[in-house]
Symmetry: C2
Subunit: 155 residues, 2 copies
């Protein structure tokens, strides 16, 4: 895709997140985009991201839902304010709570697709629901409550 991902708009000092920072060379560097009202992220796990042979590690699934969720939260907050993601002040979100239901084993070796829906944007809080697909199957379902980053995380 030629368009910039949500994460490509993050200010440099917020771009070292292990899950979504474009400058974290060891990390996952996930990329999220709007597709209509949904936020979408594609990710193909590495061969060592397993729980048992053949199936994706649940901690990775939690990580993907987490970072796709905070990215979606930021994008939704800009949308709610009617301004582009490169305008200031920058809006960045962290996770207040994360809930994941692992519905079925997630097969390794295929592209996973995360589809997010914004449930609520209220004050400093955004609620996002995410489904993780392997092909046509929903393998996990997550809900994240994201909040604007507190001042004590700005070092």
């Amino acid at each position: 895709m030629a368009e910039k991902a949500f994460q490509d708009y993050y200010p440099e000092n917020f771009s070292y997140c292990f899950g979504c920072g474009r400058l974290n060379q060891q990390g996952y560097q996930i990329k999220s985009y709007w597709v209509g009202e949904e936020s979408v992220c594609h990710f193909t796990p590495r061969e060592y991201h397993i729980a048992v042979p053949g199936f994706v590690y649940g901690g990775l699934i939690a990580s993907l839902i987490d970072c796709h969720g905070t990215g979606t939260a930021a994008a939704a907050a800009y949308r709610a304010e009617g301004r582009p993601m490169d305008s200031l002040p920058a809006l960045r979100f962290v996770t207040a709570s994360l809930h994941i239901d692992y519905l079925k084993p997630t097969p390794l070796g295929i592209d996973l697709v995360l589809r997010g829906k914004v449930e609520e944007v209220k004050g400093r809080k955004v609620v996002v629901r995410i489904k993780l697909y392997a092909g046509d199957e929903v393998c996990a379902r997550g809900e994240i409550i994201a909040v604007q980053i507190p001042d004590n995380m700005l070092v």
Copy 2:
């Protein structure tokens, strides 16, 4: 510690988990032990496991709670059956659901301690609550519902 960790008892084909498999060279290889009625795990994140500079990545925290939770579930199930962890049949658990509350930013650069309490052992299901400490502070709190591994994950 000289005693074996819960994860050291996992059969070989269950020992490649990215979070807790002793044979996954790229993974976290966490180790969990009973300390009285609590299960305890120590882990020091790497310098690149960050959300923003100075603070630990929430996806890693979710991963640690997840794998310490499934390990605790297995250990609790053996205890409930009154048999040692190296007896057969092997009991192995996967995550049905995971809930994390991120209470405060988790500082990077110090040893993190996870303390688990078994809430319920019932049939194939075990519920574990876990607190993650940085020093004396509880930075995150998790609840995991673990279930004995379904046959469709045994490849």
